[in-house]
Symmetry: C2
Subunit: 462 residues, 2 copies
Amino acid sequence: MFSKDIYVSRRQQLQGTVKSGILLFPGNGNVGMNCRDNWFHFRQDSTFLYYTGINQPDLYFLIDIDNDKEILFGNDLTPEDMVWVGAADPLQVFADKAGIQEVRPLKELASYLKTASGKGQKVHYLPPYRAQTTVEISEMLDIPTQEVANQKSVDFIKAVVAQRSYKSDIELSEITKAVDITADMHIHAIKNVKVGRTEKEIAAELEAIASSKGSSISFPIILTKDGQYLHNHATSAVLNEGDLVLVDCGAETLMNYAGDMTRTMPAGERFTDLQKEVYNIVLDAHESSIAALKPGVLFKDVHELAASRLVEGLKGMGLMKGNTEDAVQAGAHTLFFQCGLGHMMGMDVHDMENLGEEYVGYTETLKKNPAFGFRSLRLGRALEERFVITVEPGLYFNPFLIDKWKAEGKYTDFVNYDAVEKFKTFGGIRVEEDLLITKDGSQILGKPVAKTVADVEELKNS
Amino acid sequence: MFSKDIYVSRRQQLQGTVKSGILLFPGNGNVGMNCRDNWFHFRQDSTFLYYTGINQPDLYFLIDIDNDKEILFGNDLTPEDMVWVGAADPLQVFADKAGIQEVRPLKELASYLKTASGKGQKVHYLPPYRAQTTVEISEMLDIPTQEVANQKSVDFIKAVVAQRSYKSDIELSEITKAVDITADMHIHAIKNVKVGRTEKEIAAELEAIASSKGSSISFPIILTKDGQYLHNHATSAVLNEGDLVLVDCGAETLMNYAGDMTRTMPAGERFTDLQKEVYNIVLDAHESSIAALKPGVLFKDVHELAASRLVEGLKGMGLMKGNTEDAVQAGAHTLFFQCGLGHMMGMDVHDMENLGEEYVGYTETLKKNPAFGFRSLRLGRALEERFVITVEPGLYFNPFLIDKWKAEGKYTDFVNYDAVEKFKTFGGIRVEEDLLITKDGSQILGKPVAKTVADVEELKNS
């Protein structure tokens, strides 16, 4: 946990913004894999952590703004529980560290909320992403499960986004730790991706680095020779000479801050000439995007800049044609770049994703473009100092999409489908870094990892 | 998947037992860690797998016994989905492999069930352990969330237990694969548990073995120098000379069969004399229990035999006193052995735990003893050929429990609290194997792993 003052001041700021009602923070519980008590690893809710720092399951926290009360609801371990899980501090110790005055048994929460609702107090909650939370809110607030998401508090969401979007120095230090571990994972990957090994074997080694140096992975590891599928996970597939391997992975620190980087490397010792050519197009888009980052710039525009650089490169290879800006505005690049350029990162790898992209990545006046490709851009709004974001352009030669759009005659003004045909087995390339938006520009976080063709090959064969 | 015939015949047997109504099999979905779409690894429901073999998320299967229909409900991937996750077979391909005739879109399930209920058909379902399943059943069958568990079908539970309890040859071959990977994890642990390393580092390496050779771990890894706490997980604690390290872990195969073994080893090169003495008491209880296994024997009696052997050993060390049988019947051994001797194992590490211990481990006439210690024995019933079980006696010197019971004057006829005092920092020892009940006795599954003091020390220093 950070120092008590940090949590107290975060909560004061939050109360000052929402002004009235009860702010309800459901902590996460454990989730059963195949039985109720055979759990996935515990992951606390990020907003709960942000305002309390308490990394324990089965808690609720509330701020009763109208009555100036803060209460942690939960149950202390019994001596019988300690037979199974060992010693644990009473909840009051955790509450004290967070500057929370009062602890009550969990069973008192429902009646507290009922009484408050009865007096006309509004109970604000964020949109739940765990079904267990939906069930609990439904039962406590007497809202049908189908209605729980709809009755979320937009005021609460906006107030949280207004705080969590700006990373403090102490948060930046945690994020940098996460990115450093993530860099170690990538250095291991570049050195250990080899012909004859399976994707799963290497992915398991990367996960071990994350778990031993931090708390866990920040998202399921993507380690695949089929990088053309954006979220393809590691399989039992064996790596062969000529395969391009896309590795997108990240670690979480013990305080649950995330890293998220991508490198693409040959399974063999060297990239082929064709792989190098495509790699350098992606790297150019990556570098150009980073050079454009600074406060005030719309990330949507940086995304379009990256798309333009990719189109330029593909035109140079004869895969695209026509006016670059027209191609991007029409969306022709989305045949090869189907996703967004990046996203916010913090306690969540897609930071605050659960609060809704319309509040995190867009504004009242800047709405997301619903067209294919553009609609996967999670972040469009103007960048501000202390935002932490990813930049991750890529080129993905998806054979289904190529066949479908070719058959539909889509974007024939911009795409040379005959030339594209031989790329249907090429795979995909992505290069991703984590960046802090600074006063004048941006700064790449964490220790450097080989990124140019020459550096990747050198590290691989070192 | 196994061959189609296996799934078809399992379902025929099930229908023959339950006889009427609709049998509803909710498949598992993905669960968000900190956002809806940032998932834990996917784990299909074991009963769903047992009757269909289909290891894909977001499906429901039903058998309409009254109308002799089997239907898989789910949605095929769209080309847009494939941009993210790659190619996937249509659901009809999976259905064909499972011998299921019909596939329908997921959205038709609710109305199918509504129509059936309207005609008076009973919809049987098993007790859900995922909140998402509770929500779905609640919404589709119009049952309050609080009532969903209560309205489970006991007939369905009993019919499933009557099948899954007996492992076929092909299942035994999968379980043996799981135990072999589990053995590899333990061999790695014995060799790599060393002074100066952290628990988490080594646990992460074991998880990597499970993930690269199978699908994943079968339960959260216990790797701890505080083995006196039964389910204590790996922490950042550094191992020191003199520490005893308890490692309880298992792998799941790609077909989701589990292994589950425990070894206890010194952090340094050798056990101390005192550690050896206690270890050999546990090993004696372990060997004596295994020797007693055969069809017809109550596992509850084997548990009590193990307890007696432990008490005998502790008497030899001066920690206990009095008549052994009286001590066990009184429960005095539960100061040192607070849990059960073992459990069923199969597609779940605690096989069918979600169906309820009263149906899996006990019978109409043999009910679980609710006393401390005994109530943690998941399996009491008479053993039968083709059961797969674990045998895992242990001695756990829990300082809280010792202090509490000493203060309460509990079991003073049987416990020499003064002698026990110096064991409050001893830790815990457990030795566990996975066994098949055979016609005449039992057989340890999987490849052998060092188990005696001499063999563990030899492997450790090899």
